[in-house]
């Protein structure tokens, strides 16, 4: 058996359930915000709380060479974390068309205005998510200015995975999938706590061992 040293691998079922609930409330808030912006119903999955080997994280979004748009934010405060909102390329184009009031299918590459719009969406989603999380944990959590990249999923994720890789070989990923009614937009929202932040979050929600 692979030797697992990371603290996060010792999470109990209760703790995993609590983290899933945190993800649920945060993502619910974010989905509502997104739904209001694009005026479409958004469905979301029950958040997956997964502890996975770093190398397997890109598989969640279609493999390391899948073409995606990624909006990345750092979370400051008591529990530093990373937030990543990943959209397949076509979803990103569709979302931009909706936001800019263009006909569907118009966008085939992103202008700097389109990029700003996607970053703003990331900003709003992260803000909504963190508001819920702050309320839940009674901790202040603030997002940084967002950054955007349109590239291979593995390449985008490597930035976050390198951060986690200094501490261990696994990532705790709270992941929610969003889809619109029309199926035009499909996205994954990831909250990835820094290794030390996990115990802070667990303590704040009252499920620390």
């Amino acid at each position: 058996m692979e030797r697992l040293s990371d603290d996060m691998l010792k999470l109990s079922t209760l703790q995993l359930d609590a983290l899933r609930e945190v993800g649920n409330v945060g993502a619910g808030n974010a989905a509502t915000a997104l739904s209001q912006i694009i005026n479409q119903k958004i469905d979301m999955t029950v958040p997956q709380v997964a502890i996975m080997p770093l190398g397997e994280v890109p598989d969640v979004v279609g493999g390391p060479d899948a073409m995606v748009a990624g909006v990345y934010l750092r979370v400051f405060g008591a529990a530093p974390s990373s937030i990543l909102f990943l959209l397949p390329r076509d979803s990103a184009f569709y979302l931009v068309d909706m936001l800019m009031g263009r006909q569907e299918g118009y966008t085939t590459s992103l202008s700097s205005m389109d990029e700003s719009a996607l970053m703003e969406i990331g900003n709003i989603l992260a803000g909504a998510y963190l508001n819920a999380l702050s309320y839940f944990t009674n901790m202040t959590m603030l997002p940084s200015i967002p950054a955007l990249a349109m590239d291979m999923a593995g390449a985008i994720l490597s930035v976050i995975l390198a951060q986690l890789g200094q501490m261990g070989d696994h990532a705790l990923v709270i992941e929610t999938e969003f889809t619109t009614d029309s199926n035009g937009v499909k996205g994954h929202f990831f909250l990835i706590p820094d290794p030390g932040s996990l115990s802070t979050i667990l303590a704040a929600i009252g499920v620390k061992e």
Binding site: G55, I145, I156, M167, D169
Partner: protein, 161 residues
């Protein structure tokens, strides 16, 4: 039938012609291709971090430049490669996101590439091609029949080193 051997993040693989070694979606990571043109034995390493000594957990030596490369070199030599003939081609080490106040960790790609060059220098292996930096991802493939290193990107086209 030649095989296409996949190398995951924080892993390395060795092989010989006519097979190929491939690693998908490198961002800040660096893909190091080592090749012995006489025996057509090669290795591809996908490192994630520069230095195992700076990490709290260093259980997977394939993750770090300083520990992965000596191990891969050993495995190639066990297959019959000769160190004096081995040359290196490297690619990756991008900075995927630009922040106004880029912290050290955002520059991990650059630090990875620097570390790889230092480790190869220490191992006395010559780098004959270097495609590092930029702000885009790369998929790299080492073709062991002739040692060509093919780099695919999404917006910067494709090239062979």
């Amino acid at each position: 039938m030649p095989e296409l051997i996949k190398v995951g993040m924080a892993d390395y693989k060795v092989g010989r012609a006519p097979d190929s070694l491939i690693s998908y979606g490198l961002g800040s990571c660096v893909g190091i291709a080592l090749y012995d043109s006489m025996t057509k034995i090669g290795g591809l390493s996908h490192i994630m971090l520069p230095d195992s000594k700076q990490a709290r957990s260093a259980e997977n030596p394939a993750k770090f430049a300083d520990t992965a490369l000596p191990l891969m070199l050993d495995e190639m030599m066990k297959l019959g490669a000769s160190k004096s003939r081995i040359t290196a081609k490297i690619a990756g080490g991008a900075q995927m996101f630009t922040f106004a106040n880029a912290t050290d960790i955002m520059r991990v790609g650059e630090r990875n590439a620097e570390a790889v060059r230092a480790v190869l220098r220490k191992l006395d292996i010559r780098i004959i091609a270097d495609d590092t930096g930029g702000n885009y991802g790369r998929t790299v493939e080492l073709k062991l029949d002739a040692g060509k290193y093919r780099i695919k990107t999404i917006n910067q086209g494709e090239k062979e080193l």
